[in-house]
Structure formats: structure tokens, C-alpha cells
């Protein structure tokens, strides 16, 4: 659905995007995970056809020029900075952008109603956007991107500055869209979001893509071992040979297959009072790839 090949953009000496390639299948949710300044927004702008790349190509649904209106209209874009008319109501914002996409009459009304329900703003539809909370604005920002029923969505950090409740609501909505078969490009600097929502994730830093794959693939490639910490009821009899290292009643096991190790402990008949499993996550992956943490 979306194919990006060796995309490059620099601002003076800053290489905002430095040779990026990836392909998003139809119906896939693809994450771009990276810290602030990694080049995620720049990438999205080039895909959306509003920023000419210095080099490289973008292909959307087989067409190679995203500056053409017919190509662009297959995309819905929710910009990172809220892009709303504060002096219009939620309903007016939706209707305005719907009209720009050529919707009229009953179709337009139907879509506006759908989008208001999607964003859970039906009750506040006649209030000016400037009176909305941060979460409501984020939801509207997302709903506007969907007003013309595009087959693909570009979401640029759609949960920035949002309370946990609104964030959960947005997650739920994006999962709905996934189930309906939309293709989604999702950028974020929160690894939990990428982990929860994305089929595949690309790790980005300093304009470069460091690796791409499913969350499990990335973890097994770069995450290293899991750590199991178990507190035993009493010191084991010397006949039993336990994996890992034992200090008093505290047992610590480093393994790539934590679940299997826990099952083995149970088979050995060891009684455990407390158990902790530290699985590596995308944070660990990022640390392994860059030597830095995702959020400083």
C-alpha cells in the first residue's frame, strides 16, 4: 500500500531523514518508533506529498506522485500539531474538511455524524473547539483525518498531551480501524504504544532506520535475555539441581525462554512465594541499538 525507498531530506547540516526504506502492506499497522527529532514527522510529510524529498521515492497504492490530489486523497493525515480551527465548532471543522474532499449533502451529513460518534463528540458538536479539552481536540484531530474514508492513515504521535482516559479511547479507536482493514502508519516515541498497536515496528534515530520487524522479532534480535526472580518458600534440598544462581531463598535465572523456565520450576516441585519476570521490551531494544534510552 505504501512503499518508501531511500527517502532523504536535510535542512542545512541537519539530516532530518537519511535514507529510509520500508513497505507497509494493505491492512497492516506499521509503527515508526523513535525519540523526538528522529525524523518521523519529516517522513510523514514527505509521504503525504507536502514536503518534497531531496532524494528517494514514495509510492502509494501503486502511484508514485503523492503531490497529485488523486493520490493524496487515499491518505488521511492526523498531524502531530493539532490542526483545527478553534473558532469553529467540532461539527463545522468536520463539515469543512469533508467539503474540501468533495463530500456534499446527505453523504457529508452522514460522514460528519459518523466522525462525531467516532470521536465521542456528538454532545459537544455545537461547541467551539477552543472550549474542548486536550483529549477532545486529539480525538477530533483524528476524526478529521477519517472524514473522507481514506484506505490509509498517517498518524503522527496521536496521543501527545492527552490524559490516560483519552489515550485509552484513542487506542480503542485505532484497534477498531485495524480490524476494519485500514492501513496505518503510526509514529510515536512511546514504546508501549508501538508494542500494543503495531504489527511491525521500525526503530528510528537521527534520520536512520535501525531495524524493522514485529515486536517479538525485534526483541529476540536485540532484547537479550529475560530475567526471572523467584522467592522460594524454603531453601531447596541439595538433591535438586536448580537453574540459575541461588542466594538464600532468592533465585535468579537469565534465559531467552522465560515461560519454559517457570514451567520447569513448577515441574521440579519448588514452592514459590513471589515471582518476577523481566522481559526485554522495545526500550531494551532501543538501548541495545543506540546505547541511549528512548526518553531522556
Amino acid at each position: 500500500m505504501i512503499r518508501v525507498q531511500d527517502l532523504r531530506k536535510h535542512y542545512g547540516p541537519i539530516r532530518a531523514v537519511d535514507g529510509i526504506s520500508f513497505e507497509i502492506e494493505r491492512g497492516e499497522t506499521f509503527g515508526l518508533l523513535g525519540p523526538n527529532g528522529a525524523g518521523k514527522t519529516t517522513t510523514i510529510h514527505m509521504i503525504a506529498g507536502i514536503l518534497p524529498p531531496d532524494a528517494g521515492s514514495v509510492e502509494i497504492n501503486g502511484s508514485s506522485d503523492p503531490t497529485r490530489a488523486s493520490v493524496r486523497s487515499q491518505l488521511g493525515v492526523a498531524p502531530q500539531a493539532l490542526a483545527l480551527y478553534e473558532e469553529l465548532t467540532g461539527e463545522e471543522n468536520l463539515a469543512f474538511f469533508g467539503r474540501l474532499h468533495g463530500l456534499r449533502g446527505a453523504t457529508l451529513r452522514g460522514r460528519v455524524q459518523w466522525a462525531l460518534e467516532f470521536a465521542e463528540l456528538t454532545e459537544r458538536r455545537r461547541s467551539l473547539v477552543k472550549t474542548y479539552s486536550g483529549g477532545m481536540k486529539r480525538r477530533l484531530n483524528l476524526a478529521i483525518a477519517l472524514i473522507h474514508e481514506p484506505p490509509a492513515l498517517l498518524l503522527d504521535e496521536p496521543t501527545v498531551g492527552v490524559d490516560p482516559q483519552s489515550r485509552n479511547h484513542i487506542f480503542g479507536r485505532i484497534e477498531d480501524l485495524r480490524r476494519r482493514g485500514l492501513t496505518v502508519l503510526y509514529t510515536t516515541h512511546y514504546m508501549e504504544e508501538a508494542q500494543r498497536l503495531c504489527d511491525r515496528v521500525a526503530i528510528m534515530d537521527h534520520g536512520k532506520m535501525l531495524d524493522v520487524g514485529t515486536v517479538d522479532e525485534l526483541i529476540s534480535r536485540h532484547g537479550g535475555v529475560s530475567v526471572i526472580e523467584a522467592e522460594l518458600e524454603r531453601p531447596p534440598e541439595s538433591t535438586v539441581s536448580l537453574p540459575g544462581t541461588l542466594e538464600g531463598t532468592s533465585l535468579r535465572i537469565e534465559t531467552t525462554k522465560p515461560l519454559e523456565e517457570v514451567a520447569r520450576l513448577a515441574e521440579l516441585g519448588v514452592r514459590i512465594t513471589a515471582l518476577k519476570v523481566h522481559r526485554p521490551d522495545l526500550e531494551t531494544v532501543f538501548l541495545a541499538l543506540t546505547g541511549r534510552r528512548l526518553r531522556d
Binding site: 488523486s70 500539531a81 490542526a83 480551527y85 473558532e87 469543512f96 467539503r99 474532499h101 478529521i144
Partner: protein, 422 residues
């Protein structure tokens, strides 16, 4: 085209909701026109432009009463009878422009008493000298008309002869021989006036008094009839300045609030997005001009006789300011920067262009400078389309300059905008 219209309507709605911006577009120009129109002696309430005078008739003769009646019937004057003291007070308080007193002996001397008794007395409000000078003209011509009318009636002219004879007989400084010649002349004149057929007498060439009403500048139909006629075209330009600054700010706001990004990912091209903004600005400018015209026409009697000329002036002026708006929107990256610098530029143009002090009171060098201000040309176009009653051809120079100015600003603005965006 539909997309452009959708954009423009959205902008008009936003401008409408922005009460602060709206004040500069509509509120301020209306206040400006009405306030300065009335302060500068606009219409004296009745809209006729008549000079108000207090009249005191102390003479109470047939001549003074006829004189009073003639002044009262003049369209240029609004006459209120008062005593001498009341009249003086009314002028001092600015309620009347002038006081006219017909003293005892006025009828006797036929208004030509001069420094002696019987001469007409006038007191004028010093801040209304122009009206005072005009009033003196009217008084002169009225006196002249009355005397002419007397001479044109042989019977009434004969009534004067006994008085004249007595004057000559009693004047010691006239030598005896001269006195006889004069008295013989009066006798002959008396016989002539008594014998002549009045119809033949009056068919001769009549004496003409000075036509004061026709030559006075303020009554000249080619001049402004009231201060409102001068102030409304200027107010229209103030409205355009408000529109221009408002839309320049709204263009940057689209960028700073991120909505420009959203417009750019819509199916609209960059040119269409700018066209939408331009159309909105054009419509707002035109609406402001039309509203001010309607207000001026119906409440303050502004002349407006040539709708096609007005339409041309309106279109050219609005287009020019759309171009200026595009250029102003490039003067900064933030709303504050663009708002501040736009008003600075517009006020500077307004100052030399006659939006603060009228062009005709400027020194010559400044009048020359005003040729570089689009606001000056806008005022000229709007005056031409209203009270000056220009034809399309007479409007052409101002419209041409405006279009040229607009085109240059527009091209520059669009070029800079597209540089910003890549």
C-alpha cells in the same frame, strides 16, 4: 472552484466570529466616518448643509421685514429670530454660526449705512470663518436684489424722490449751481417714471446682482456637499486596512496552527488554497465598502449616481488590497509579528495617503508622496465613484494604479510564500 469557495466561506465565518478583528473592519470605519463627519460640520442635523444664523430686526420697517423674509427663504441659511443679546450668546456657545442684526435706520439707509447708523451688523463664530464669508456674500446679494426690485417698479422708485430732493436741498457742501442741476434731474426723473408704461420700463436690461449662491465653493455641485462625503470614502479605506491586516494574520495563523498542513493534504492545490484566501479577502473588502456606502447613502445623503463606476472602483480597490494582504502575510512567521508589521505598514501608507489628514490640506511635497500610497489611490477611486461623480474613463487612472500595485504585491507575496514552504 467549489473548493475555493468552501475555503473562502470558512474564512468569512472565522472573521465574523473574531469580534476584535471585526471591530477594525467594520466598527472603527463607521465610527470614524460618523464622528469626523459630524465634528467637521457634516450636515447640521437636517443634512441640508445650511448655515445657521441668529437674526435680530431692531428696525422693524417694511424694508427690514422684507429683508428678513428673503433671508429666511434662502436655502443656504437657517434663520432663527432672536434678540441682540440672545443672538450674541448663541454664537458664543457655537449654537449659531453667525448673528445678523438689522439696527434702527436700516430701512432708511437701504442697508448701506456703513459706519454710520443703520448699517448691517454681523458677528461670526471665529471657527466658522468660511461660512461667515459665504454669509456676507448672501447678505450683499439680498440687499442688491431688493434695491434692484425697487428700481424696477416705477411707482416705488418715485417714492424715493422726495427724500432725495430733501437731502440735496439740505446739503450745504453742494454748490448752488450743482444743486439746481440735480433737482432738475430729479424732476425729469419723476416725470419719466410717472409717464412711462411699466411694462416697457421693466422689459429693459435688468440689473444683475452678484450670484453668490452659484459661485460659492460650498454650493458648487462639483464639491463635497458635507463632511460626510469626504469622510465616508476615507472610512472605506480604513475598513480595507482592517480586512487586509485581518486576512494577512489569518494566513499566518493557518500556518502556525497547522491547519495549512491539513489544507495541503486535502485535494486542493497550493494555488487554490491561496485563491481561497484571496477570494475571502476580496469579498470581505467589497462587503465593507458596500455597507459603508449604504450607510452613507441612506443616513448621510452621500451622493452615489453611477453604479457601474462604483462597481469598477470597488473591484479594483478590493483587488489591490488582496495583493497587499498576500505581501503583508510574508512579513513574519507568527501572528503577532505579521499583525504588528502589517498595521505599521498600513498606517504609514494611510498617513501619507490621506487616511488621517485629508490630502487637500497636506503640503505639496506630501501630496506628491501620497502618489506612492495605495490608500491615497483607493480614496481617490472611492471619491470618484461617489460624490465626485467620475465617469468610467475618469476613474481609469486610479483604477489602473490600484491594479498595478495589487498585481506587484500579489506576485511578490506569492513568490515569498512558496519560498517559505519548501
Amino acid at each position: 472552484m467549489r473548493g475555493i469557495l468552501t475555503l473562502a466561506l470558512k474564512d468569512l465565518l472565522l472573521i465574523w466570529r473574531d469580534k476584535f478583528g471585526l471591530f477594525w473592519i467594520l466598527g472603527f470605519p463607521v465610527i470614524y466616518a460618523v464622528f469626523f463627519g459630524s465634528v467637521l460640520g457634516g450636515g447640521h442635523g437636517d443634512g441640508s448643509g445650511a448655515t445657521s444664523i441668529a437674526l435680530t430686526d431692531e428696525d422693524q420697517t417694511e424694508f427690514s421685514q422684507e429683508f428678513t423674509a428673503r433671508l429666511a427663504s434662502s436655502e443656504a441659511l437657517s434663520v432663527t429670530p432672536m434678540t441682540r443679546e440672545e443672538g450674541r450668546e448663541a454664537v458664543r456657545l457655537g449654537r449659531q454660526a453667525a448673528q445678523v442684526v438689522l439696527p434702527t435706520g436700516f430701512g432708511e439707509s437701504l442697508g448701506f449705512g456703513g459706519q454710520e447708523e443703520g448699517g448691517l451688523e454681523i458677528a461670526i463664530d471665529p471657527s466658522r470663518r468660511a461660512e461667515g464669508a459665504y454669509l456676507q456674500g448672501i447678505l450683499m446679494s439680498t440687499t442688491f436684489e431688493m434695491i434692484t426690485d425697487r428700481f424696477m417698479d416705477p411707482e416705488r422708485a418715485r417714492e424715493w424722490l422726495p427724500d432725495l430732493r430733501r437731502d440735496v436741498e439740505e446739503a450745504p457742501e453742494i454748490p448752488g449751481l450743482q444743486r439746481d442741476v440735480l433737482l432738475q434731474f430729479y424732476d425729469a426723473l419723476d416725470k419719466f417714471l410717472g409717464d412711462i408704461d411699466p411694462d416697457i420700463y421693466q422689459s429693459g436690461p435688468a440689473l444683475q446682482g452678484p450670484r453668490v449662491e452659484a459661485v460659492s465653493v460650498t454650493r458648487d455641485p462639483s464639491g463635497p456637499q458635507s463632511a460626510y462625503e469626504i469622510m465616508f470614502p476615507v472610512a472605506m479605506l480604513w475598513g480595507l486596512m482592517g480586512c487586509t491586516a485581518g486576512f494577512a494574520i489569518s494566513l499566518v495563523r493557518e500556518r502556525s496552527r497547522g491547519t495549512l498542513l491539513r489544507l495541503r493534504v486535502s485535494p486542493l492545490s497550493r494555488a487554490q488554497i491561496l485563491a481561497g484566501k484571496g477570494l475571502a479577502c476580496f469579498l470581505a473588502c467589497s462587503a465593507v465598502i458596500v455597507m459603508l456606502l449604504a450607510l452613507g447613502r441612506f443616513l448621510f445623503n452621500i451622493r452615489f449616481e453611477n453604479p457601474p463606476a462604483f462597481a469598477l472602483a470597488l473591484a479594483c480597490t478590493s483587488l489591490a488590497f488582496v495583493g497587499i494582504m498576500m505581501l503583508l502575510s510574508t512579513l513574519g512567521r507568527t501572528e503577532e509579528a505579521v499583525g504588528g508589521s502589517s498595521w505599521a505598514v498600513l498606517l504609514l501608507f494611510g498617513m501619507v495617503g490621506g487616511a488621517m489628514i485629508p490630502r487637500f490640506v497636506m503640503p505639496l511635497w506630501m501630496q506628491a508622496l501620497s502618489n506612492f500610497s495605495p490608500i491615497s489611490w483607493g480614496i481617490r477611486a472611492m471619491e470618484g465613484a461617489t460624490w465626485r461623480g467620475f465617469t468610467l474613463v475618469e476613474l481609469a487612472p486610479a483604477c489602473g494604479v490600484l491594479l498595478l500595485f495589487g498585481a506587484v504585491c500579489f506576485s511578490l507575496g506569492v513568490a515569498i510564500l512558496s519560498r517559505h514552504e519548501t
